[in-house]
């Protein structure tokens, strides 16, 4: 149905021409779901934009052919392309909130597409739009028709985007990272819905994602892309079981999965023995009946409702829950950026909740409690170089200056595996993984006792996530840190944590040793979280017990340079 031959796309930039896609060929058959997997910068999104002819300014198709049911997509007139877009080929974009017009009712946005393609008239558009909303299983579509995007949850917005994309019964659906940024249960719901609709309507689809596990679960065939080239293609079971290309093997390794330890995420040659953790039973942080209530427009909003837990010295505790469960509020309160409504936070025996957050910046315990932020880009000042960023806590709290400061910064850069030559770069000149390292270096600069990790790998590619998670494991062993690891992904939490707390609606629904909670979840909510994670096909190597792997592990440094 869609046939692409030797497609090359280049971008004209300030530093000359950049080849984003370098000769890609593939076909999509009728009724097939094709997965394109690759990390950021691999050219997977650009390929789809080129097919739709919606490349950014400066981008152009340099060579190759793309034919869709006999139409030459490369040479078709813009008028014809307008008819094809939405009508024949439609797209679901990554960020549903950005893809929807924020000041237009969602129902009208669906009507727009229908009327643009003459699928509805002014009189029956409303009814057809509501039917389209019902097709994507939106309950109470009549009422939701008049909602604005900001009134809907992320998952609901993505359903609206799907409704828009499917409204005109296209033959081919291109989904570009449709679930990135959504909660894991929402991801499952949206993916099940989309793949169900595709099968039902006998459509074809291209699913673009960085998550190999997700692609393997929903696609009939996978393409693995790297640097604008297809390095491997085949059916998911084969790519997972017997990856032929070293890059696909690395991606397969880096995908968190049942039974794998954190070291298993690294390529085989970079694995070293996992360091021994010295978790004690002396409590370091004791949280007692912590609550946080915000004054909302319609009455008080209870973000956190009476939570108690303990983190021992050297322990890593995972805090898991979906967005809105109060886990970020808890981490903000523990790190003393936010004052609790009531309750105690005992750190080393003292109640630190007594010191208001405003004055805690000058408190003597400030250096002991630090945090690694979720979004590495957002947490670095765009006007400060990496060196200035790491220097900030050292200057302010340790009063370091001159040579001592320089030495310490370089020591920290070595510790987190950041090449010294990158220290004088600004954040926009660093990659995602490098920015994460700068953020970690800043957090451990003052030798804290307690580190809060707020989804530190959420914005990273899987292979970088693997490296950063291993770095965190090494740092914990080396510096004797205690972690609170906040995440929505139980499979990532399991890799790092000894103890897991599962939260829902501001309350703890289940807690216990990580192994037990994962193996035998008691609460239905925990069960649904575990079930929602993508289940990639079994790997040949993974069936072997992990003890065997540790025994055979080679003692190689984990601070691999490939991530830098």
């Amino acid at each position: 149905m869609l046939s692409v031959k030797d497609l090359s796309v280049m971008f004209q930039t300030r530093r000359g021409a950049v080849d984003a896609v370098r000769g890609v060929s593939f076909d999509v058959a009728k009724g097939e779901i094709l997965g394109i997997v690759g990390e950021s910068g691999s050219g997977k999104s650009v390929t789809s934009y080129a097919l739709m002819r919606i490349l950014d300014a400066g981008g152009m198709i340099k060579a190759g052919e793309a034919t869709y049911s006999g139409v030459d997509l490369r040479r078709a007139a813009e008028r014809d392309m307008r008819d094809i877009r939405g009508r024949e080929i439609s797209m679901i974009f990554q960020n549903p909130r950005a893809a929807l017009n924020p000041i237009r009712k969602v129902g009208h946005q669906i009507e727009d597409v229908l009327r643009q393609h003459a699928q509805a008239t002014r009189y029956d558009a409303r009814g057809k739009a509501i039917a389209a909303m019902e097709a994507v299983r939106i309950n109470d579509a009549q009422a939701r028709f008049d909602a604005y995007p900001f009134e809907l949850s992320g998952g609901m917005c993505q359903r609206i985007v799907c409704a828009i994309a499917l409204a005109c019964d296209p033959k081919l659906l291109i989904a570009d990272e449709p679930t990135t940024g959504l909660d894991i249960t929402t991801q499952k719901a949206v993916m099940d819905l989309v793949s169900g609709l595709i099968r039902e309507r006998d459509m074809s689809s291209i699913l673009i994602t960085h998550d190999l596990g997700l692609a393997a679960q929903y696609c009939d065939r996978l393409l693995v892309m790297k640097d604008g080239l297809i390095v491997e293609q085949g059916d998911p079971a084969q790519i997972f079981g017997q990856p032929a290309h070293p890059y696909s093997r690395k991606l397969v390794d880096a995908t968190p999965r049942a039974g794998a330890s954190v070291r298993d995420l690294l390529p085989a040659e970079a694995r070293s023995a996992e360091p021994r953790m010295l978790a004690t039973d002396q409590p370091l942080v004791e949280v007692r009946n912590l609550t946080k209530t915000y004054a909302g427009k319609s009455g008080p909003v209870h973000a956190v409702r009476g939570i108690s837990f303990t983190i021992n010295r050297g322990q890593c505790v995972g805090l898991v829950g979906e967005s809105g469960c109060g886990k970020s509020t808890i981490s903000e309160m523990l790190v003393r950026l936010l004052d609790p409504t009531s309750g105690q936070i005992k750190f080393d025996g003292d109640d630190i909740a007594k010191t208001p957050a405003r004055r805690f910046a000058r408190d003597s315990r400030r250096a002991d409690i630090q945090m690694v932020f979720q979004d590495a880009t957002d947490s670095l000042n765009p006007r400060h170089t990496a060196r200035q960023t790491i220097a900030e806590p050292l200057r302010r709290l340790a009063r370091m200056r001159g040579n001592a400061l320089t030495t310490r910064i370089e020591e920290l850069a070595g510790l987190v595996g950041l090449p010294l030559s990158l220290l004088d770069r600004f954040p926009h000149q660093l990659s995602g993984g490098q920015k994460a390292r700068v953020g970690i270096a800043r957090a451990v600069a003052l030798d804290p006792k307690f580190l809060i990790l707020d989804e530190p790998t959420a914005a990273l590619d899987v292979s970088i996530q693997a490296v950063v998670l291993n770095l965190l494991v090494d740092l914990r062993a080396k510096l004797g840190l205690s972690y609170l690891f906040v995440s929505h992904d139980l499979h990532v939490v399991r890799l790092l944590c000894d103890h897991v707390i599962v939260m829902k609606d501001g309350q703890i629904v289940e807690e216990g040793p990580a192994r037990d909670v994962m193996a035998d979840p008691k609460d239905p909510y925990t069960k649904s979280l575990i079930a929602a994670a993508p289940t990639p096909p079994e790997r040949a190597g993974d069936t072997a017990p992990t003890q065997l792997e540790t025994k055979n592990a080679q003692h190689l440094a984990v601070h691999d340079t490939r991530a830098s």
Binding site: R14, R15, E39, S40, G41, S42, V335, L337, R358, A361, R362, R366, A367, I369, Q370, M371, F373, Q374, D375, D378, S379, L380, N381, P382, R383, H384, T385, T389, E392, P393, R396, L397, P419, S421, L422, D424, R425, F426, H428, Q429, S431, G432, G433, Q434, G439, R442, A443, D461, S463, I464, R562, A563, S564
Partner: protein
């Protein structure tokens, strides 16, 4: 891996290199900086270099058209127009730079307070700014000068007051969107007080849009000062100032002595044009993201 190896990019260059790069990359910026340098040089050295004393009258040589001796001609009491135009640069630039500096500083401080803490200071400030902006700004400036008296300082204060709301609004918006940014929270974890976070982390990020505003405002402030002088509410004669010269020369256009008003007017236009062109270049220079 998708990361870039160190060898791929040249090492971070200094600020001077960056300025040179911006000038080279954009010819308009280069021209604007050349014009700006000319204005600065006229302001600094003009009074020492001009051929005639701008205040010396010579009744026998009045209203002469442009010639080799008097490039821009002479006025109704025989003063050399060229000397007066060049000498006036210093006064006009001083007024606009001082006025913009005052509104920049006051507007930034007010905008930071309102944007960072919000609450009632924010509400009060916003209503106060609305009040100022509700007046026709030139009329407000006229009122201020009329009330305080004709002097250079009062022109500066009046110009500063009518420009201030724009800076306060801009800074407030820029501070507000960064108030809860990750790097701000990280700075607090590093032991920085609110004041320090505001001054070292948030405010510098507002500089790029501020620079565009500054350069547009410099031109606008010159026009404003000249306008006040033109209607007799500014600098008083016989001081050389573009606005007064245009005002005085306007009387003679009808009788054919066009050069009295045209040359100071041209210079005024040149200065405003320079500042308008300067904006984008200044923004590129203070924005680290342009350093690739």
């Amino acid at each position: 891996m998708s990361d870039i190896t160190p060898a791929d990019l040249p090492r971070q260059k200094g600020t001077l290199d960056h300025i040179l790069y911006v000038l080279r990359a954009n010819p308009v910026t280069l021209i604007a900086f050349g014009m700006f340098a000319f204005l600065i040089l006229s302001a600094l050295f003009g009074p020492a270099l001009v051929p005639y004393d701008p205040l010396a009258t010579n009744a026998g040589n009045a209203l002469q058209p442009p010639s080799w001796a008097h490039w821009f001609g002479t006025d109704q009491i025989g003063r050399d127009v060229f000397s007066r135009v060049i000498v006036a640069t210093r006064l006009d630039l001083t007024i606009s730079v001082a006025a913009v500096a005052i509104s920049f500083v006051v507007g930034s401080v007010l905008g930071c307070i309102a944007g960072y803490w919000g609450g009632w200071p924010d509400i009060i400030l916003n209503r106060f700014l609305d009040t100022i902006m509700a007046f026709p700004l030139f009329v407000l400036a006229m009122g201020i000068v009329a009330a305080l008296g004709n002097s250079v300082e009062n022109i500066i204060y009046a110009t500063a007051i009518i420009n201030m709301p724009f800076y306060a609004r801009l800074v407030r918006a820029e501070v507000n969107i960064r108030r809860d940014a990750g790097f701000v929270r990280a700075a607090k974890l590093a032991g920085s007080s609110d004041m320090r976070v505001l001054a070292t982390q948030i405010f510098p990020n507002a500089l790029p849009p501020m620079m565009v505003q500054v350069s547009l405002n410099l031109g606008w402030a010159i026009l404003n000062a000249a306008g006040l002088s033109f209607i007799g509410l500014g600098v008083s004669p016989p001081t050389a100032e573009w606005g007064i010269m245009v005002a005085e020369g306007a009387n003679f256009i009808v009788s054919g002595e066009w050069w009295l008003a045209v040359f100071p007017g041209l210079w005024l236009m040149f200065a405003v044009f320079t500042f308008n062109l300067l904006g984008d270049g200044l923004r590129d220079i203070v924005d680290p993201r342009k350093r690739t």
